[in-house]
């Protein structure tokens, strides 16, 4: 199963709405990087509102995709992390400190605009 990646002006928007297995997560990583490359997008929002579990593997894939996109020159913001997911990640010992986050899609777009226009 492929996760759809939508283009909006200079941004890419992704809403993850399925229970991510490892293979889908890795494919998503590749798809997003190649879409950034093809579209020349400068910002990406990955919305996790519908994701109710992030384990250490998925967290690593998401953290890596942020660093990889950064290398290519695109800023990524993760949005909509649920309270239960945030609590579980901290219990697991995963802090994702270098990953930009925002409350929801709207705040994520504002954050991207601020980061990219300054």
């Amino acid at each position: 199963m492929r996760i759809p990646i939508l283009k909006l002006h200079n941004y890419l928007l992704v809403s993850i709405q399925i229970d991510l297995d490892d293979q889908t997560a890795i494919e998503f990583q590749e798809d997003l990087l190649s879409k950034i490359h093809k579209s020349g997008a400068t910002g990406v929002v990955i919305d996790l509102t519908s994701v109710d579990i992030i384990d250490s593997f998925i967290a690593k894939v998401l953290g890596d995709v942020v660093s990889m996109s950064d290398l290519m020159g695109a800023k990524v913001v993760l949005t909509g992390i649920q309270p239960a997911v945030a609590m579980t990640l901290i219990d697991l010992g995963i802090h994702m400190q270098n990953v930009p986050t925002a409350l929801d899609l709207e705040q994520g777009l504002i954050k991207l605009r601020q980061e990219l226009e300054e």
Binding site: D19, Q23, I53, S56, F57, K60, T88, L92, G93
Partner: protein, 135 residues
């Protein structure tokens, strides 16, 4: 003490998702709240991935435990894999032999209430973890 048991066999990567979904369902049935459902599902995901990565195959069993006045969900992750050479090292934060985040076992211990690990090199590993329903 009454118990009902069921299990999910871990043979392919997708079974990791199957195992945690089953865990979440059981947790919901037992009356766990959303946060503890997420903790249980995440713990199962870590345990199932360990089986898949290190042992290849194994199983996750679910047991409802009714101990005195306490109700809980017991997760048993068992495999006949290579076993863990140094258990105390595997329980250190940040230790991993697979290039993962190393959040595995110590993370699972923090997510659950009771945690027990038995492993013998060359014979396999059994990890038992329980989450109690808070009244």
């Amino acid at each position: 003490m009454s118990k009902t048991q069921s299990c999910v066999h871990i043979k392919k990567e997708w079974d990791i998702v199957g195992a945690r979904q089953m865990g979440r369902e059981k947790a919901k049935e037992l009356g766990f709240g959303t946060v503890n459902q997420a903790r249980i599902a995440t713990a199962i995901s870590e345990l199932a991935r360990n089986i898949y990565l290190y042992a290849g195959t194994g199983k996750i069993s679910y047991e409802v435990v009714n101990d005195m006045n306490k109700l809980g969900l017991k997760i048993i992750a068992s495999d006949d894999g290579p076993g863990i050479a140094d258990i105390s090292k595997s329980m250190e934060d940040g230790f991993s032999t697979s290039g993962g985040l190393g959040a595995g076992l110590p993370g699972v211990k923090r997510l659950m209430d009771d945690f027990d690990i038995e492993s013998e090199e060359g014979k396999g590993t059994t990890i038992t973890a329980i989450k109690w329903v808070r009244k």
